[in-house]
């Protein structure tokens, strides 16, 4: 099978499955929207049957207005030369403290890194993922920092001081209306 055949076959295969919405964005980019429950099955199918052996990344997007996290699994096929992004949404605030989802480590080994990263940054717990402990933020005690409701600037202004640098020449400049007119923390766009 060459690339086009695989792609054609995949398109027809995915079109048959219900609940899945396939959008071919370009020659090498496919977007698939899939419900959270059937994502592992889809990935299994992609890896096992459609040569999508490389998990390029798992991205997480926080949608607080929808009360949802969006997880995007980017898979690449070395044979079809096509990148498939599987989008799924999971509820943001489940009963537990952390949102929960299942790990795809047993399908894609690289998932372990991304899942740990998402666990740290967004607080989504991936069941049966091998390394569900802190990695980058081992010494961070605050909330998962990448969530939209964590205001980093507020935290920074509360936690850190700024060096007060006002030498004579700068004061003179400022009197003339120049210099650092706006302090960094005052810039809000």
């Amino acid at each position: 099978m060459n690339c086009e055949e695989i792609n054609l076959w995949l398109d027809t295969l995915l079109a048959e499955i219900e609940e899945i919405e396939v959008t071919r964005k370009s020659e090498r980019r496919v977007r698939v929207d899939v419900p959270a429950s059937s994502l592992p099955a889809l990935l299994e199918l992609l890896k096992g049957k459609a040569s999508y052996v490389h998990l390029s990344a798992i991205s997480c997007v926080d949608w607080p207005d929808d009360e949802e996290f969006e997880l995007v699994y980017h898979c690449w096929s070395y044979e079809a030369k096509s990148l498939l992004s599987a989008h799924t949404r999971i509820p943001r605030n489940s009963a537990q403290e952390f949102a929960h989802y299942v790990s795809v480590y047993d399908i894609y080994k690289p998932a372990a890194f991304f899942e740990r990263d998402i666990y740290e940054m967004y607080g989504i717990y991936f069941e049966s993922s091998p390394y569900m402990e802190k990695f980058i933020l081992t010494e961070w005690n605050g909330p998962p920092p990448m969530r939209k409701d964590f205001d980093a600037e507020q935290y920074v202004n509360d936690t850190f001081n700024w060096a007060d640098y006002h030498p004579q020449w700068l004061q003179e400049l400022e009197e003339d209306g120049g210099g650092i007119a706006v302090r960094p923390e005052d810039i809000r766009l």
Binding site: D62, V72, P110, F113, I136, L137, T138, E139, M146, L189
Partner: protein, 380 residues
């Protein structure tokens, strides 16, 4: 964190002991830590410890304008910053459905390849230094500095350039730049023989690097290894050719591979890649004068630029491997979400941990450098 108060506790009754490589250690690449559990000089297990370089880039980018972010993305990977700018620009262009003028694309590829040369030269030096050979590191840094001079002339910055913006590059190349670039390439080619004698065919180095840190193709695919490390196992995959971006499909270049998958194979792949980059740059020098036109597409007022809604996943081949950004825009002045898939995020953590097992203590640094791990890409 509170360190222990050092009240002695009973130690487990085994001969294993622990060794910390890093975060500040001559045998580690950057500010990164690797905890080893050893018996004698054999590694029983290794545990990567990252986060020393964490700045929360993804959070920072959500708080800044689209155009402001260009200034911080190159900081994610210091030795090879250009792909970061380019791939960020690519995602924005993809969301905005912008067409980059042809001349802008050519100039971007020129930077990308020059940056690859600089990065590989740096890596050779680091890798050789882990085996106790310091001359290659002196040479590599010196020859890389010449590339940095070219960058300085082109962009104004030695290390961080901020030359690419969504829609193209900031300005056209200076007069006579291509000649000086050509001179540099000539110089590099005259150095090829010296480098071979000094490092790549030097038996001292070859004996040290051969059959160390072997990873076969199957494992590499399973663990998501990309870039030169994957090519060193025999799979000729390169994003530049297989998922082409910019004008790479118009260029004539080869994808060097090795089959052994050990430290030596990895450095040899990089060596061949360096001279493939020279070959690409030669084509650019030949073609660029004939590509006329603007170097960037017009963009709206960058300080009040609301990029239209959408999302894009773009990837490029950086010197470390596959580098990808996932950018989401909600139509606002700032990105809604940018996810950086660092090129070394796989081989600097999981692959390294797996490869360290059973190796000898003196090879750990070499393995890490041969994988060309870039810790800031992991930490972001």
């Amino acid at each position: 964190m509170r360190p222990e108060n050092y009240q002695l506790v009973a130690l487990p009754n085994s001969d294993e002991y622990e060794l910390f490589i890093g975060p500040n250690h001559p045998g580690i690449e950057g500010n990164y830590a690797f905890k080893l559990k050893l018996d004698g000089d054999r590694v029983i297990s290794g545990k990567a410890d990252a986060g020393y370089l964490h700045r929360g880039f993804e959070k920072l980018m959500e708080g800044r304008l689209w155009i402001q972010n260009l200034a911080i993305v190159p900081r994610i990977c210091v030795p090879d910053p250009v792909p970061m700018e380019v791939v960020y620009s690519l995602t924005v262009e993809d969301i905005e459905k912008m067409e980059v003028p042809l001349r802008g694309q050519w100039i971007r590829v020129m930077q990308l390849e020059l940056s690859r040369i600089a990065s590989h030269l740096f890596t050779f030096g680091g890798h050789a230094a882990t085996t106790g050979m310091y001359t290659p590191s002196y040479w590599g840094v010196a020859d890389r500095d010449l590339a940095l001079d070219l960058f300085e002339e082109l962009t104004g910055g030695r290390v961080y350039h901020i030359y690419n913006i969504p829609g193209g590059v900031r300005r056209d190349i200076p007069n006579g730049f291509l000649d000086r670039l050509s001179d540099y390439l000539d110089y590099l080619e005259t150095r090829q023989n010296d480098y071979d004698n000094l490092l790549f065919t030097n038996q001292v180095f070859v004996k040290r690097a051969r059959n160390v840190g072997v990873i076969n193709q199957e494992q590499a695919l399973e663990w998501g290894v990309t870039g030169p490390n994957l090519r060193a196992t025999g799979l000729a995959f390169d994003v530049r050719r297989d998922d082409p971006y910019l004008i790479y499909n118009e260029l004539d270049f080869e994808i060097p591979t090795q089959t052994a998958g050990d430290c030596l194979a990895r450095i040899l792949v990089r060596r061949d890649e360096l001279f493939q980059s020279v070959r690409i740059l030669r084509q650019i020098i030949k073609h660029l004068p004939s590509v006329k036109g603007p170097v960037r597409a017009p963009i709206p007022n960058p300080l009040a630029w609301n990029v239209s809604m959408g999302e894009s996943y773009c990837r490029v081949e950086s010197s470390k491997g596959e580098l990808a950004y996932y950018t989401v825009s909600d139509g606002g002045p700032k990105p809604y979400r940018v996810h950086v898939r660092g090129a070394s995020s796989m081989h600097a953590v999981q692959v390294l941990e797996n490869m360290a097992v059973g190796q000898r203590i003196e090879d750990i640094a070499q393995i890490m450098f041969s994988l060309d791990a870039c810790p800031p890409e992991v930490d972001r």
